[in-house]
């Protein structure tokens, strides 16, 4: 996935002189997760460069650049460190077009690795996506595989609205399905690791069916798509797994079609449960599929605690917990 993201950036730097990249350690070094590796060397010092450790300043500068006419792509080193930029994102990036009636807008893309599973403890594991889905004016994207990651990132950069692009860091180097004590598979063995060269787009706002099924719908995104698949296999349930890909704007149509068909729904995310994006999904599903539902919608999520270092795998909503929920929903 790292290579796919790198390729998306490479393609866009080559295609569009108005695209530039900056962030902490992304320049000479190529980023702590190596996503921008080689880009400074290839495209030049002013196309991909380091920034002061000031997430608010990074986003603010990107807004100014966007207002000038550029398409800045910034990296926030960990999603856990996005909060100092929260004001610039919520009050400024999200509202500029609206408040100026289109006189100004800022088409920035904010890339940031999120999620746990790397022993990062509470400050290198968070999934703050719901804090952005509540904000009108922002789009929120979460890829789950290399193919989508590249196509969605290109779509995000070309989009004229500010896009929050959450990269599941646990998927950077392989399709992790939550069985943490099994050996890690590399992406190369996964079909979605087939990443076309050059420019292509996976459109924002369109979900994908990661697995077709008849009995229950699982709504997931990012790392949890793989966990959902593993859980369905583990529970031996014929689940339809929907990979949302974009949270805002949401592909509600695909969700409703699936739940109308299955009559059951399990929602999975790694973020803390209360007021997580799963709440919005549950609210929407009951609103739109009330008469089709045969069981309460279940949410499997991170607990309402910080992400603890030593209890990472008890915190992580792994395949066993998801499988339990599937069984419970099927039994209801």
């Amino acid at each position: 996935m790292v290579q796919a993201l790198n390729s998306a950036l490479d393609v866009m730097l080559a295609r569009d002189p108005d695209v530039l990249i900056f962030g902490e350690d992304v320049g000479y070094f190529g980023g702590v997760f190596r996503v921008t590796d080689g880009l400074q060397k290839k495209h030049g010092l002013t196309r991909c460069f380091d920034a002061p450790i000031a997430e608010g300043g990074i986003v603010a500068a990107a807004i100014g650049m966007g207002a000038y006419g550029l398409r800045p792509v910034v990296e926030i080193q960990f999603a856990d460190y996005i909060y100092p930029a929260y004001d610039q994102l919520v009050s400024e990036a999200a509202r500029l077009r609206y408040r100026s009636a289109g006189d100004f807008f800022a088409p920035l893309t904010v890339r940031t690795p999120y999620g746990g599973g790397i022993f990062g403890g509470q400050t290198h594991s968070q999934s703050p996506e719901a804090l952005f889905t509540h904000v009108a004016g922002l789009k929120t994207v979460v890829p789950s595989n290399p193919h989508d990651a590249k196509g969605l990132l290109i779509a995000a950069i070309e989009d004229d609205d500010p896009v929050m692009f959450f990269e599941p860091k646990r998927l950077y180097n392989g399709p992790f399905d939550g069985w943490h004590d099994k050996p890690v598979e590399p992406w190369s063995k996964h079909p979605a690791s087939d990443v076309p060269e050059g420019h292509y787009v996976v459109p924002l706002g369109k979900a994908a069916i990661a697995r077709a099924g008849a009995d229950v719908t699982i709504l997931a995104y990012g790392t949890m798509v793989h966990v959902a698949l593993a859980a369905a296999a583990h529970a031996e349930v014929d689940a339809e797994v929907i990979d949302l890909r974009t949270l805002v704007p949401l592909d509600l149509e695909s969700i409703v079609a699936s739940v109308e068909k299955t009559g059951r729904c399990v929602i999975v995310h790694e973020a803390t449960r209360t007021s997580g994006f799963g709440a919005e999904l549950a609210a929407l599903v009951q609103e739109h599929c009330f008469y089709a539902l045969e069981a309460p919608i279940a949410r499997v999520a991170g607990w309402d605690t910080p992400y603890p270092h030593a209890f990472e795998w008890e915190y992580f909503p792994g395949p066993k917990r998801v499988a339990d929920a599937l069984r419970a929903v099927m039994a209801a």
Binding site: L20, T46, A51, P52, A54, G56, G57, A60, A61, A62, I63, G64, M65, G66, A67, Y68, G69, L70, P72, P84, D87, Q88, S91, E92, L96, R97, Y98, R99, S100, A101, G102, D103, F104, F105, A136, G137, K139, D159, D160, D161, G205, V248, P249, L250, L252
Partner: protein
Amino acid sequence: MTNATKLSLHVPAPKARPGDPVDFSPLTPPPAGALGRPDIAVHAEDTRDHARGLIRVLNDEGEAVGAWNPRLNAEVLREGLRAMMLTRAFDDRMFRMQRQGKTSFYMKCTGEEAVACAAALALPRDDMCFPTYRQQGMLIARAYPLVRMMNHIYSNAADPNRGRQMPVHYTAKAYGFFSISGNLATQFPQAVGWAMASAYKGDTRIATAYIGDGSTSEGDFHQALTFASVYRAPVILNIVNNQWAISSFQGFAGAGESTFAARGLGYGLPSLRVDGNDFLAVFAATQWAAERARANLGATVIEHYTYRAAPHSTSDDPTRYRPAEEAEKWPLGDPIERLKKHLIARGEWSEAKHKALDKQVVEEVRAAGKESEAIGTLGQSRPSVKEMFEDVYKDQPWHLRRQRQELGV
């Protein structure tokens, strides 16, 4: 630690509160013309005196003196005078209109007109200014239609902001005027980003940003100076020190022990402190900083030392927290009076002409007012309610379309 001093918490307080006598004598302004005008390639450290002193061009006699005299022709000065007078007349009318219930809110810049008007004339309008709500003078100096400003203030059917913003949050890209944010200080680092973009593209345009004394305490201020320093961004970073932030005097922004301009030195940014009520000084400092920026020498910090003669906004009553007579006693005077005196001293103006111009600007504002009010004041007319759902995104996503339908518009 026996017999150690007991610590105590210091909470700053202004010299005078309502009822106290006003005494500005510790602020006796330094003489005009005293400070040199350094080369634009100056090292920040060598602007130390400029950051702690006060650059002044107009002396008490109304003469322009010293190295910072921008030697402007009378035409430009009269334009500046007119812009400041028009701004004041505009403010007066709109303040009254709010009092009459014709809009929800208004903010004047009385006493601070020189800060925005001089900069507006010193810079071309293809530079981009990132203003606060107190730089309406910039739009007016550049002949932005008053009617359009009013249409916005009234949120009427012709409001360029489509009824979405509170009054005084103008946006005017074609006039080099960035969309004003209600969130203090956010524009400061954005301006640096705009300037970085201009440099990145090999452009020649620069950015200029404004922030109030109180707002310098926000983290955004620091991030702006840091980015400006690191990337040598072609930007002018203006701090408008009008002594007050609503009810809080500048001591709560840390002005007690230093100057706001002096902050810039620590980032290696040449920094100037300017008599903000001296049109010529503001013009000259802006020109100097713009030259630096355009020569790829990077950013300049300018503190405009002035006084907020007006209430903070129509929601504010300053007599609750400061002596009413402070404004009159302000030692740097009134920017309009000072420029008028200078023009008269130069033989380029007269009391009679001034009176006539005063009438003329009031009339101009009144005419614009009538035109705008004919379109409607707040609640009388407004943009289509549909506009509520537009421009949230470039294209309206399905959920907003559905919400619009739910509202039935």
